[in-house]
Symmetry: D2
Subunit: 330 residues, 4 copies
């Protein structure tokens, strides 16, 4: 079993720490967070040590792997500290909001041949995995078009927006990664349009909440992403992949399969799962397990720091396209 | 009952003539086509007169309305002849492949206050009508994004492509019209990407078969259209409309509702209806009926020549965007 | 073209007369109903003759086929008159409420080798036809169980109930026919339970509105039918056929495919088609066409008077089972 | 936390032991099975003690609750030993194959006011719970008809059949329990038909594999159950509840939501989950948790030994009905 330190005891740190505790390949040794109560609370729930010093936690001899769930601007530092200390690293997305810093980190990780995985959780959703498996198995022939629908149930707070790097780098980064995952080829051109129409503060803060993106690859594959930050009917996460021999789709998830038919309503179902912590509960668990398996077996990381950089480059290109009204080469 | 002349006894003329024959508001008087056997065959089937002289047919005193199903490059001539002769006109799309000629026709029709309707049949599909009705009834609040999926089962012949005006003006023209129909507001900017990946002759003829389009309106509403000309699973025609208070979708149609579950297949359904003559059989019938009703009641034409021009303008803009890699203002 | 007289200008007579008028194999010559206004109204709508003397209409030399849509207690008389006069006959179900009279009629029709078809419309629904086609094609192997769900949206009036012969002979007769259609083998034993729980007058009149039936065939195939007369969500008409190699189902029909998702409702669809005139519009049309085709080609009637008797025998057996609490042999 | 002994380390014992180990209300102390390797293997996997003496395990002071997953003919003995020793008991279904012994056990448990729950797992499936919740909330008014579809993917072995008590007491016992759960009222009459058509040994052993059941309650509510032991398309577990104000259904579960459309297949989905260990994984977990919660809070057991007896009485009545061809009063 690999000894694990989880850095960060916030919302995402809790998810990862719980999954580490339940994973038979891993042993949760310590949860580290500068906020003592957060670290202590999570540690006592999961029966492990607490620490207020993440830097020290990384260095411990009984730690083989670290999971980084700290604020974005600390990702690169912890990642590189871990990489240099010979630890395996699972780091939450994004690598960084600055593409130069992110690429410097990727370069260093590659030079060190370190085991660093970026936590693009959506790839590990069972339906996303099955879509990819069917593509690779040739079930729909050559991929022609990928269509990604990505809608949050509600916009984030003004405070969140201010430090998020903007909706393209914060929210759509997942969609850029999924586009690469399904296209199986790098986008070479990006076009995007964006508007802010939900809460007034989104516009005031210079951000967007309603976006559409087009991308094309060298061989002529195409991808469309649509994003919206206030889908009142829930967290809408759908993929459609059109190929030369067929088409694939997934659907949203609901807690039960019950349907009701009455005089005034036909086919009332449970609402779709409302946000990422519920929707991607399996994905986070599988992501961690595949990380642990790759570390144990010495196989390549399922998602690399370079993947994280490429998604960020696409996000930057989309921002440029919105600003200039032109297709942006990547 | 209005006396009707159907011009053109080809594939689309047959559809219209059959619908005229069954419509209680209309009396099918004559089918006119320069190809005598075509006119005669259709006329004897539907028990009306045949003519090889469409121009003469338009002028007959017992004709109140004409339905134009002739080649595209004759649309404007017949339309204006009919308008000047005081006949009501239902003309197949497109108005013309040349925006200047189309707009000249629209101007003239407006000056004459003539009753001329363009046959954008998809608007009259019962599900499309219901989508529009729910939008107008405020069921999903303000429209934010419209997503149109439009896929043909197979690319047309090289001969067809040569005179079609290109896939944007021929196929996507329907989608531009539907975008305007659902957005309820004019697009002011168009971006498009296109490739040719199905049959080699598509590329050789300088046309495309795989396209994605983005459009935005002055108020920030967005629209995505994706087109493909070789969807092996059938004629895929779907709409999705996202609003501030909800989301609407339609689905493809199948001949029956039968589903089969076996050891090797789960949920085998009938294939979706394969092409426009089957898929839009109701739409063509309703289109004609609403035309007849509007003529009888003196209410505005459901789709005007100006609508036809506006869709064509968007198609032209899309072609420009593919060529220049820039957003094109409309 | 076959000259047709439609007997009865009520609800069902109108359906049949309209279909005759539109069928290219048939010519609607006369509509006959003792109620002069009814006959006249329908005749003028469909542009044919009206008569108040159905008996005389049957005998006309220009009549090749008659369609009987008169009250149940006149079915046998008109059927036999037509058969003896050498006319083809399409007679609405049931043959008669009295099994002896019905079997006498079947005997006579068989002796005369007359062309008489009973109008069990549900067999001709496109989905029912497809289910049967797949069974015959061996898609699900040997049939094991047939499950029929048959629910009306609202109970009939007291006046209707009094002359209907009871819900088993009036409503479930269709389901007994469909059971035979899908089983492909005669039921030999019937069990049934029934209660009256919707409107008080159903119980007061000695009828039922909530029933469940079991049937078994000699080889051990099984069938369940459930009926209810007040399904508030609409006219529910579903079949499920379990076989050794798979399972088949159909679904209810809706006017459009539109689905709506909002904060308070997920997946609102159109209500299902509400009653038989809308639900089975295609079935009535196809039924008539297959009748006409069989008459023209001299092939066997798709549904015989004997079929009508067999369904009635099962209904009688179900009534006996409810009364005695025992399985009833047929 | 309650100390728990799991009796039986076979297929079902493993499920329960795993759930105990993960449940924060429970502490897995010991797994007891006369087969030493089975007990030892499971114990080492779950990090608890192993024992070959279930009787001794029940008596331990550090054991507050026992989970019985031993062969059916030992259920009553362990249940009563536990009850007399003041332990809470979760016992797998059925209570016993002999109704007299089962009712004796129920009497004794009631006299002792012991906490004994019978493991009818299907009640705890999230969709079944939601169906019940909506019924209790009045969402469909008064229940009129309950329809239960219960099909196994393959018949059990001859060895299993010999000791199973027959398919009505072994397989359909779950369905009788679910009927009571949804009807909310006791069935007073049972009718059943049965045949053996899958594997020859089923018939040779005097058992059935294809059954249909009708039940009625004092107030006229009705229930239909259909069972089959060789559904090639998978483990089919569906409920439909018709009420005065609406209708409820659940659906089968699949591992992902992916759908594929190709030229030869439309809408290929994942197969449905194949058998009870996968299908009811959540149900077993929730069952155990509600048991633990009821023990801790001192609230009534969610399913009592008396419930187990009532389901068995219905199974016995169904067997009688098949034999006699008559409705059997309960």
């Amino acid at each position: 079993m690999l000894g694990v330190a989880v850095l960060g005891a916030g919302r995402i740190g809790k998810i990862h720490a719980g999954n580490v505790a339940l994973n038979p390949r891993l042993k949760l040794v310590v949860v580290a967070d500068p906020v003592a109560e957060a670290a202590q609370g999570l540690a006592s729930l999961l029966n492990c040590e607490a620490s207020t010093d993440p830097v020290a936690a990384v260095e411990r001899d009984d730690i083989d792997a670290i999971v980084i769930g700290t604020p974005t601007d600390t990702h690169v530092d912890f990642m590189l500290q871990g990489a240099e200390a010979g630890k395996a690293v699972l780091c939450e997305k994004p690598v960084d909001l600055d593409i130069k810093k992110a690429e410097m980190a990727a370069d260093k990780v590659e030079r060190l041949k370190a085991k660093v995985m970026i936590g693009f959780n959506r790839r590990f959703d069972p339906s996303a995995q099955e879509l990819k498996r069917q593509i690779l198995a040739g079930k729909i022939g050559d991929v022609r078009q990928v269509i990604i629908t990505s809608r949050d149930p509600a916009p984030p707070t003004p405070a969140y927006i201010k430090t998020s790097g903007g909706v393209f780098r914060d929210m759509a980064i997942h969609d850029f990664d999924m586009a690469r995952f399904f296209l199986g080829e790098e986008p070479v051109e990006v076009m995007a349009i964006a508007s802010a129409v939900t809460e007034p503060y989104v516009k005031e803060l210079g951000d967007y909440d309603t976006m559409m993106i087009l991308m094309t690859t060298a061989s002529g594959k195409q991808c469309h992403i649509n994003c919206y930050r206030k889908a009142v009917y829930g967290y809408d996460q759908r993929f459609e992949i059109l190929g030369s021999d067929g088409m694939l789709q997934n659907a949203n998830l609901r807690p039960t399969t019950v349907r009701r038919y009455t005089a005034h309503e036909t086919e009332v179902q449970d609402p779709i799962l409302n946000f990422f912590l519920e929707r991607y509960v399996d994905a986070y668990r599988i992501e961690l397990d595949l990380f642990a398996e790759a570390v144990q077996k010495g196989t390549p990381m399922p998602v690399t720091v370079r993947d994280g950089c490429k998604a960020l480059r696409l996000a930057d290109a989309a921002v440029d396209s919105v600003t200039t009204g032109q297709a942006v080469k990547v």
